[in-house]
């Protein structure tokens, strides 16, 4: 239960971090984020059909394709429509639905599946999910890289734009370009997560919906300031969901998760990490 929560939560963290990046830098709730997760899963399936059955190969390819789509979407729609607050959630939701329809048109509505292979047997006969481990480690490595970028010199423009766009612009930064490149990068993270998780599920046009909701929950609760907080909270929620399913009922796991989040937010509306930082400050 602990290991499974760890694996699932760790991979969803990759998607949630992308969502937080968009929210922090582009200042947009991107409801098409799940569509990029779906794109990643289909790329993994398409490669598996051609004999490349490892999502480790699919994840970079999915990330590149999603980055290109994300940049296109960011440049052609997100940036021009940013000034209209209601246009973006509706617009990104429309993009997600359009993508689902396109996926259904290309691959059909039937579920598809990638061979997941046998599990690994650990010490003492402990059964370990092969793709759970691979996806978790890949996710942790990518998030570690993101954390380093954000804290080092290359991440300075992102931090500055997140803090104050006008100051960033007055310093000669191309804020518009950084915004759509960030959007593309975040979409690439969602696609990588989709490719990494594809072997453990059935690939359908709507596979991205549940991860979208989970990543939204993580970002709302963890805030946008810390990659580590997002990572830890995703794992925490993964384990919490499993614990509820185990001790209460599998049907209650999702409801319990959302109730816990609502209670947490009613106590700390700005998110747990933000408040903790402010108190520390």
């Amino acid at each position: 239960m602990l290991l499974d929560g760890l694996f699932a939560g760790g991979t969803y963290a990759l998607m949630a971090a992308g969502m937080a990046l968009i929210l922090g830098v582009v200042k947009v709730i991107n409801l098409s984020h799940g569509a990029f997760f779906t794109l990643g899963a289909y790329v993994a399936y398409a490669l598996a059909e051609r004999g490349v059955e490892t999502p480790l190969a699919a994840a970079p390819l999915a990330a590149v394709i999603a980055f290109a789509f994300g940049v296109f979407l960011g440049k052609s729609f997100i940036n021009p429509a940013r000034k209209h607050p209601f246009a973006l959630p509706v617009g990104t939701l429309a993009c997600a639905l359009l993508f689902e329809q396109a996926a259904q048109g290309i691959w059909g509505p039937h579920p598809l599946s990638i061979e997941s292979g046998d599990p690994w047997i650990g010490p003492g006969g402990l059964v370990i999910r092969r793709w759970g481990v691979i996806a978790f480690l890949s996710s942790a490595a990518l998030l570690g890289g993101l954390r380093w970028i954000l804290s080092a010199r290359p991440g300075l423009p992102l931090r500055l734009i997140a803090e104050d766009e006008e100051i960033a612009g007055s310093l000669g930064m191309d804020v518009e370009a950084i915004r759509y490149l960030t959007f593309g990068g975040a979409c690439a993270m969602a696609a990588a997560a989709g490719a990494l998780l594809a072997p453990s599920a059935a690939v359908t046009p709507m596979i991205g919906r549940a991860p979208l909701l989970l990543s939204l929950v993580v970002v709302i609760v963890a805030g946008m300031d810390s990659v580590a907080a997002i990572f830890l909270l995703s794992i925490g929620l993964g384990i919490f969901g499993n614990a509820c399913a185990w001790f209460l009922s599998p049907q209650w796991s999702y409801v319990s998760l959302l109730v816990a989040v609502c209670l947490l937010l009613s106590a700390r509306p700005a998110g747990i990490v933000v408040l903790a930082c402010r108190r520390d400050g």
């Binding site: 039937h110 599946s113 061979e115 997941s116 059935a202 399913a245 185990w246 599998p250």
Partner: protein, 402 residues
């Protein structure tokens, strides 16, 4: 109002959106135009209600594919009274209100002669009201709730137009109960999506098998929206059953089975039908332990079944799953046969023929009981269904023994 071309140059998405809207309008207009053209000819129209969008789109698409194949077969045999049979398909979206509205549209505006559908039990109960009010024959292929035949039994005069081709939950349980001793199963875990018919099947199965000394050792229903597969898989395996019965016809059955194989590679699993009847999906599951699938019919069960599977494969590139496609195929086959036997497609002529007649389908010979339920099960003359086992590269029929 003028549209400047620069608007499209600056925003390619606007161009794509406009093109999508145009294509959508075209896709709505073309079937309407073809339906109008069809109505001008001498045709018998069957209204088909299935979810082609939303979470049940996969099952709904197979449903329509099979119905199309059955209608083509009927026309290849000369149609009915020299008239061609056509279909008018309506997307129910898996929603009761949409299913009812579409059923009414099919009967009152499209002037269909009979209805086939819907897919979910809840939708079908709603469509029954329309069939009763409009006095239109409704053949139910897959919805399994007891409420459907219960309504016919209680209010025969009102609902006598409704006939269920697919198996009811008690019949389904009876067929599983016959299969379990054949595999030497004494303890089973029952797992599925937390939807109405799964719960009803779980309860009915427990009542049916308990007199035979077979007991459930674990029962769990996961949320279809965000299922806690890992926990359910671990708990099911930890209860040490002889077999896991997986009651989920949809995509989640594949995800669950992958998780289960990770914690209990050798544990036998029986899918009560649906997605796991798809050879492409079954091929992606590790096969250390046996995976069985229950189906209405399968290739090799009879010459009719084999011919149907081959036609389906040839037409759509994949074999049918044996449930959400085979039963709609048989529903149309039964309806067409009833029209031919009655010598008329009029409701008052067809209902008595369906009540008294016997109709050959892919799954065997269909006869309806007093509640208009096709007779499935283990008794004499009943349709028996099939249990197959997936093996590397192929499937093998394991029950009933042949």
């Amino acid at each position: 109002m003028t549209v400047r071309t620069g608007t499209f140059r600056r925003s390619p998405l606007l161009l794509i959106g406009t093109a999508t809207l145009f294509l959508h309008l075209l896709s709505v207009a073309l079937p309407a135009a073809s339906a109008f053209a069809a109505s001008q000819q001498d045709t018998l129209k069957i209204g088909v209600l299935a979810p082609l969008s939303g979470p049940y789109a996969a099952g709904g698409t197979s449903f329509v594919q099979a119905v199309t194949l059955a209608v083509e077969q009927a026309n290849a045999e000369g149609g009915v009274f020299g008239q061609r049979v056509t279909t008018v398909v309506a997307d129910t979206q898996g929603r009761v209100d949409v299913a009812k509205a579409e059923a009414l549209r099919l009967v009152s505006r499209e002037k269909v002669t009979a209805l086939v559908g819907a897919y979910l039990s809840e939708e079908t109960v709603g469509v029954m009201e329309v069939a009763a009010a409009q006095r239109t024959v409704l053949l139910v292929p897959v919805a399994a709730t007891a409420e459907i035949t219960g309504m016919v039994r209680r209010e025969y005069a009102r609902y006598r137009y409704v006939f269920r081709v697919g198996y009811s939950l008690p019949q389904w349980a009876e067929m599983i109960a016959a299969f379990l001793p054949d595999r030497k199963v004494r303890r089973y875990a029952f797992v599925g999506a937390g939807i109405r018919w799964n719960r009803e099947l779980g309860e009915t199965l427990e009542r049916t098998v308990s007199p035979r000394g077979i007991v459930p050792v674990y029962t769990a229903y996961y949320s279809p929206g965000n299922p806690a597969f890992d926990t359910v898989a671990v708990a099911a395996a930890a209860s040490s059953p002889d077999m896991v019965i997986l009651a989920d016809p949809g995509r989640n059955s594949v995800s669950f089975l992958k998780r289960l194989r990770e914690v209990a590679p050798a544990l036998p699993v029986l899918s009560v039908g649906g997605a796991l009847g798809d050879a492409r999906l079954a091929a992606s599951i590790p096969r250390a332990g046996p995976v069985y699938v229950q189906a209405a019919a399968w290739r090799g069960v009879s010459p009719a079944a084999t011919a149907y599977v081959e036609r389906f494969e040839h037409r759509y590139g994949a074999a049918p799953v044996g449930y959400s496609d085979t039963l709609p195929y048989d529903a149309v086959t039964v309806l067409v046969a009833a029209w031919r036997k009655a010598g008329s497609a009029a409701t008052q002529a067809v209902v008595p023929v369906l009540e008294r007649g016997a109709f050959e389908g892919v799954a065997g010979t269909y006869r309806f009981d007093a509640s208009h339920q096709a007779v499935w099960g283990t008794g004499a003359g009943a349709l028996r269904g099939t249990f197959v086992r997936w093996e590397r590269g192929a499937s093998r029929i394991v029950f009933p023994r042949r």
